[in-house]
Amino acid sequence: MYFLLFKTFFKIGLFTLGGGYAMIPLIEAEVVDKHRWIGKSDFLDLIAIAQSCPGVFAINISIFIGYKLRRTLGAIVSALGTALPSFLIILAIALFFHQFQDNPVVSAIFRGIRPAVVALIAVPTFNLARSAKLTWATCWIPLAGALLIWLLGVSPIYVILAAGLCGWIYATIIKPTE
């Protein structure tokens, strides 16, 4: 059973390009359809929980399912299975890349890739803004957060903590009295 958990999540970790939400269909095919470790509606609940929790999405899902089936050891084995392919592949590339870093061809390629990657980080900003359903009343939150981090060098961790706290204060203290 532990080996099956490990093997399944190793496969999920190995075959998903792009990470995050791109992994959902493969995870569903494996844990819901093939192995029937969790029901379809429970899986949808699990996605919602894993999305709201901090940390890596696919890791959160694997831990939850591993724990459901085989408690703590199952959770550890599943997390290890998901993370190991990434770890090994990246390590191989890192060892390899450090030898070619100063190669003029490689550095020319990366001079082209860098601005593209900055754009790839800019794009989810707009996609997330859409899915967070920002309004004129809430759009100051990301603006203030971005300016604090960018110009004043505030740690994003404090912005996260403050935003969570403000959400809670708003919902429990301000909203009921409005």
């Binding site: 990470g19 993370a83 990301p142 971005a146 740690s155």
Partner: protein, 191 residues
């Protein structure tokens, strides 16, 4: 003791990394580039490029790579740097392990309460701000050059930024394909 600092830093990143892989990248960027100076801005961008193009979650990929590069830059040998990357990856996963077990054991029923939902209501817009900040912080001379140092590279970079932005946001081109195209453009125009 770089391992201890790596552990604490990536544990924090795992604990506060809301909003998926890219939300986590803004934390990794702040901690490894701005705060600890383990990586240069361009090294961080390279790590994101490689993490995007290889299989597996982006958070795990970039933690592994950042842990390794941080140790190499600090002058550690290759095996010691591998240990650094293992430390960073383990520390990133540990909060998930603790939190998800706690949630499935005790707090499953609390996840749907209004109090918990209200915390997430505040978090979601803030993560948008985190990503915006990460984008702005990466607009450096390291990544784009400058008009005075190398105007040719600067304007090519700006063009590649705009093309990738519209290509993935509007035309929905696969990000991995965009990285490969940008790499080709770099080889042809910036060699």
């Amino acid at each position: 003791m770089i391992y201890l600092y790596l552990f604490i830093t990536f544990f924090e990143i795992g604990l506060f990394g809301f909003g998926g892989g890219y939300g986590m990248l803004s934390l990794i960027q702040h901690e490894t580039v701005e705060h600890w100076h383990w990586l240069s801005s361009s090294e961080f961008t390279d790590i994101v490029a490689v993490s995007q193009m290889t299989p597996g979650p982006i958070g795990i990929n970039s933690a592994t790579y950042a842990g390794y590069t941080a140790c190499v830059n600090a002058g550690y040998s290759v095996p010691m740097s591998v240990l650094g990357s293992a430390t960073a990856t383990f520390a990133l996963v540990l909060p998930s392990l603790i939190l998800m077990i706690l949630i499935s054991k005790l707090f499953l029923r609390y996840m749907r309460t209004p109090a918990v939902q209200s915390v997430f209501m505040g978090l979601r817009p803030a993560v948008v701000g985190l990503l915006a900040a990460a984008t702005l912080l990466l607009c450096t001379a390291d990544n784009f050059s400058t008009p005075s140092i190398n105007p040719w590279q600067f304007w090519i970079s700006v063009f590649l930024f705009v093309a990738t932005f519209f290509g993935t946001l509007v035309l929905k081109i696969n990000p991995i394909r965009m990285i490969i195209i940008a790499g080709f453009a770099g080889l042809l125009l910036l060699y």
